[in-house]
Each structure stands twice: as C-alpha cells, then as structure tokens.
C-alpha cells in the first residue's frame, strides 16, 4: 500500500513537472534570450527614425514596452524547464531589459520556446506585486484593475490627433476581452552543458498589420481593437538563425 502511494506521488510529480524527465540528467546551464527590436527588419530607433507601415503611413515610435512572461522550454512532447516567477518587462529604451537570462536550465536538448506576451490573469487579481510587476512601472491600470500587456506610442502625420500622436495601451484579462497572447517558437536544438544564446527578432512593424493610423490611433481600453492589435503583435517574434 505504502509503495503504491509512493508510486502515485512520483507519477503525480512527474506529470506536473516537479521532476524533470530522467533523460535530463546532464548538468544545468544557462540560456540567454536576446531580443532585437526592429521595425520591418530595420533596427528600432526611438523618436526620430521614420518607418513606413504596411498601410503606407509614415511613423516614428516614442515608446515600446511589453511584458514577456511564463517562459517555458520543451522538447515538443515534454516540459523541460519552466522559469520560476517568470515576469519580464521589455523596454525599447532599456537595453538591459532586452536580454533575459534563464538560469539553471537542465542540460539536454529542447527545441521549443514558449512564453506569453502580457501578464496572466492570476497575477492580475493577486493584489500588490513587485519587481517587473510593480505598479510604479506604469504598466498598470488602477481604476479598472489590470496590467497593460503591451504599450506602443509614437507619431504619424496620418493621425488627426494632438501632436499627431498614436497611443496603443493593450490590456484586458477578463473574457471576452482577453489580450494575453501565447508565442510558440521552434528553436535550434540546444546542446547540453553550454551557455547558450537564442536571439529573437521582435518586429514592431507587425503591430500595424491592417491598421489604418488615420482611423485607429488611440486604443487605451480593453476590447475589440485591443484584441486585434494583440493578435497582430503575437506575430512579432521570430528566431534569428545565424
């Protein structure tokens, strides 16, 4: 009977990912995710650089910030690694935020990287948080509680607004206005016992897919337009293969 319980506990732990698969017995290492922010392939420079979006609007970007959270590595069938307390605020203005270091990643091969753009609903209802989730970071709505999952602001002559500004603050964690998006990327198989780097392109141009800045230039509340923009930036990431 005792043995049966032990087996059950072991299976439960294995199933829930508390124990890594036995094949992963190699030494843990580290993995850095390096994010390269670009606009349509060109390096992203804030404020003065001019870009042209899919619709043909000329624009510049003042600020680009987003949460990258719940990072997971798998070998497509098995969870290999789940980053503990995985919340990162990536900011185009802060190069340090564009490198995410994952420590104690188990040795062994994995080929898939998964993460969320935004903050999961549990964190959204858990009260006062710190670190990347500290409300002083300016990515938090106090009145209608919730994290802003991603922010993009800039200017374009196409915007009939004060100073030709456009503002996208994308949030919303409650159905039917959820803007949390999952990203799944195939990455080159990582060899064990090494310090590894995975470089990702983050193409801000994807935000503007089928967006006419003349019509859509201020999205500051959860719902329809926010969902559409979230669908757009879900496609922001791609793996750079050297």
């Amino acid at each position: 009977m005792k043995r049966l319980i032990l087996i059950c506990v072991f299976l439960f732990l294995l199933f829930t990912g508390f124990i890594d698969a036995p094949v992963q017995s190699l030494k843990p290492g580290s993995l850095s995710l390096r994010l390269r922010l670009v606009f349509d392939g060109k390096p992203l420079n804030l404020n003065n650089a001019l870009y042209t979006d899919e619709h043909g609007d000329t624009l510049s970007i003042d600020a680009c910030r987003f949460y990258l959270s719940n990072i997971v590595l798998t070998n497509q069938t098995q969870l290999i690694y789940r980053e503990p307390y995985s919340y990162h605020l990536v900011d185009a203005e802060d190069s340090v935020s564009q490198v995410i270091q994952l420590d104690r990643v188990p040795g062994g091969s994995f080929s898939e990287l998964r993460f969320l753009i935004g903050v999961d609903s549990l964190a959204n209802v858990s009260g006062a948080m710190d670190g990347a989730l500290d409300p002083i970071k300016g990515m938090y709505w106090a009145w209608n509680t919730g994290y802003i999952n991603a922010k993009l602001t800039g200017r374009s002559p196409s915007c009939n607004t004060l100073h030709h500004a456009f503002e996208f603050h994308i949030g919303g964690y409650l159905p039917p206005c959820q803007t949390l998006r999952t990203v799944v990327l195939k990455i080159p198989v990582i060899k064990p016992n090494q310090e590894q780097i995975v470089s990702l392109n983050v193409d801000v141009g994807t935000w503007f897919t089928q967006v006419d800045l003349h019509k859509t230039n201020s999205v500051l509340l959860p719902c329809t337009e926010a969902m559409r923009l979230a669908d757009n930036y879900q496609r922001m990431f791609s793996v750079i293969t050297e």
Binding site: N124, V125, S126, G127, A128, M129, D130, D134, P135, I136, Y140, A142, W143, N144, T145, C177, L221, C223
Partner: protein
C-alpha cells in the same frame, strides 16, 4: 442619564480591553478573526501576514496628508471614522485644491469580504484599491513613485516600514500591503442586530425593530444580504440618470449595455451614520432612501429584477424599517480608538 453614562463608560473600557488584548505585545502575528457564522473573508491575510506594526503603519499612512501631492489630503479626508469612514455632509468628495470627484465616498466597512471595490467594481483586490485615490488628479493627485520616494526620505517612515517589514526599503508593494492591513481590519460586527443574532443575554429587538426586521427580510435582504448586508453584486435601483455627470456605473468598466446604470450594492451596516446616500449622494436622509424604494423607482431596461415588483409599505411600516436599520449601528466600530488617528511622533 447616569445609567447611560455608566453604560458607555463600561462598554468603552471593555472595547479598549478587547483591543489591547487582541493586539497585546504583538510584534508577532495577529490573527484576523472573522466573526462566527460569517462567510469566509475574500481577502487572504495569509499573503499579507497581519502584525500590530503592519496595522499601525497602515493607519499612519491612512491618516497622513503627506501622501498627497500638496500634503493637503489624506485617505481620512474623505473617510472619517466617526461616520463609518465616509465623508459626512458631502454628496461628492473633494481632494486637493478643493477639486470635486464624481461619486459619493463609500463607507469602509468589512472590506475583507468585498469581492470588488468602487461603485462600479472596477478594482479587484483590496491591496490595489488605494492606488486610485492616491493617484486620481482630483483626490490625492500623487504618483505612486513619488509617494514611495517621499516616504523613503523620512526617518519616521523608514523606521515604521522597518518595524513592519524588517526592512526600511519602501516599495509600493509594502505601502499597499500595510494600507490593506489597516483597511482590511475595519470590521463592524457589534451592532445591536449582531447581539440579537448571537442571542446575547438581555438583548432583544423591540416590537417595532422586530417588525422592521421582518419587512427588511421580505423587501431588502435579497440584495442587502445578511450578515454583510450586501451581496456584492451590481444593481440598477431605479434612480433617474443625473443630467450632469451622466454616470452609467458599471457599464463604464464592462462595456456591457446590460450593466448600464448599475452600481455596487453597498452594505447597510452603520447606515444611520453614513449619509448622504446612493452613488452620487443625492439623498440626505434615510427616510428619503425608503421613499425612493417605495415611490421613486424609475423603470428602465436594466432595472433590478427585485424592484420590478413594487415595494408597498405603510407609513408605520416605513418607520419600523427605519428603526430596524438603526440597529445596524455599531458604536464599538464608530468609536474604536484603534481606528482613529494615533499619531506616531516624527
């Protein structure tokens, strides 16, 4: 007369003793005791371990106008302990420079049981509620970051945060958790109604109170559910839309037309002292509130289904209901010295 005075003196001393015992010598954890028979509190103190010093820090912050941009306005400016933590005589409250808000400041009672905050339920957790008044331009008009930096520069707060969190580094998380230790402990559970429900010796409803209670159960208790006297839901109680603010209530949060003109059902505990009433304080007297429910309901698409059936009360019945509502007054709450400003020297 003498008897009454003696009664107040004795009950005052008893209340004080209870508080002293409850908090005696406690550097160490204080237990949050939910009154017997009440539902489980929604706010989870296990994620914000309650201590005497945490509570005291929260209270100090609550009463300190230093937290506002011009050091003029504190939380207590609009939430006064003697009036169940609402703003007496103010339909709408004013913050810095006399700027006026858009809603009647709500009572702060039994917040640990609230499932949401604000008249429209826009806030989902007690801890983050305080960010709103702190940062609202017509309330305290601060930036959270500035508040933290300001507090960090004072020796007094470095000391108080150290006592509460074993660390003098002030963060927004600690600020908000400390405030929640204070506001989450504003529990009112010692009204005459509670004594009667607990079958305490020699406490009975009068015949009129008893009749009022029966009328209450029949006409009001679906929404103002005992023992908290709210069901935490949102209802349109048939108030005509005001022409100035045109406040549609919860719909602002949900964008759902079904929520148009609905507002949070407020608790009725200490309602005798929490005038003015309704989300915009449009009514001053409790009697006028009952008048609204009996004769003032405006029909609309989203009118509460509980109010589609007319509430008919005779003149005497209205008086009895009023008498019952006054049994929800809890003097040990309103005059609790632990809830008042206890200034910590700078």
């Amino acid at each position: 007369m003498k008897k009454t005075r003696l009664f107040y003196r004795v009950s005052g001393i008893l209340a004080l003793l209870t508080c002293i015992l409850a908090f005696a010598g406690t550097d160490t954890p204080v237990k949050f005791n939910a009154p017997r028979g009440w539902p489980k509190p929604r706010y989870d103190f296990s994620n914000n371990p309650l201590t005497l010093h945490g509570f005291e820090l929260g209270r100090e912050l609550f009463y300190d106008p230093f937290l506002s941009s011009d050091s003029s306005t504190s939380c207590s400016s609009c939430h006064l302990s003697f009036t169940a933590f609402t703003h007496a005589d103010h339909k709408l409250s004013h913050g810095i420079q006399g700027l006026v808000g858009t809603r009647n400041s709500p009572v702060l009672i039994n917040l640990a049981w609230n499932t949401s905050f604000m008249w429209d339920g826009g806030v989902n957790n007690l801890e983050v509620q305080a960010i709103n008044p702190l940062t609202n331009p017509v309330e305290m008009n601060s930036k959270l970051e500035d508040v933290i930096n300001k507090l960090q520069r004072t020796a007094k707060y470095r000391k108080l945060f150290y006592r509460a969190f074993n660390d003098s580094i002030i963060t927004s998380k600690r600020l908000l958790k400390a405030l929640a230790q204070f506001t989450g402990n504003l529990v009112s559970c010692n009204s005459k109604y509670d004594s009667v429900m607990r079958h305490e010796r020699d406490v009975h409803f009068t015949a009129r109170e008893e009749n009022g209670y029966e009328l209450f159960k029949k006409n009001c208790a679906t929404c103002h559910r005992e023992p908290l006297f709210t069901n935490n839901k949102f209802e349109n109680i048939g108030l005509p839309l005001d022409s100035v603010l045109r406040d549609v209530g919860r719909m602002k949060v949900t964008n759902d037309p079904a929520d148009s003109l609905t507002f949070k059902v407020p608790t009725l505990r200490n309602v005798e002292y929490s005038a003015p009433y309704f989300h915009d304080g449009r009514v001053n007297k409790l009697k006028d509130v009952i008048d609204h429910y009996t004769t003032g309901i405006v029909e609309s698409r989203t009118l509460s289904k509980e109010l589609r059936r007319k509430i008919i009360l005779s003149h005497d019945e209205q008086k009895d209901l009023l008498v019952f509502l006054k049994t929800l007054t809890d003097k040990s709450f309103l005059y609790n010295v632990q809830f008042r400003q206890n200034r910590v020297p700078d």
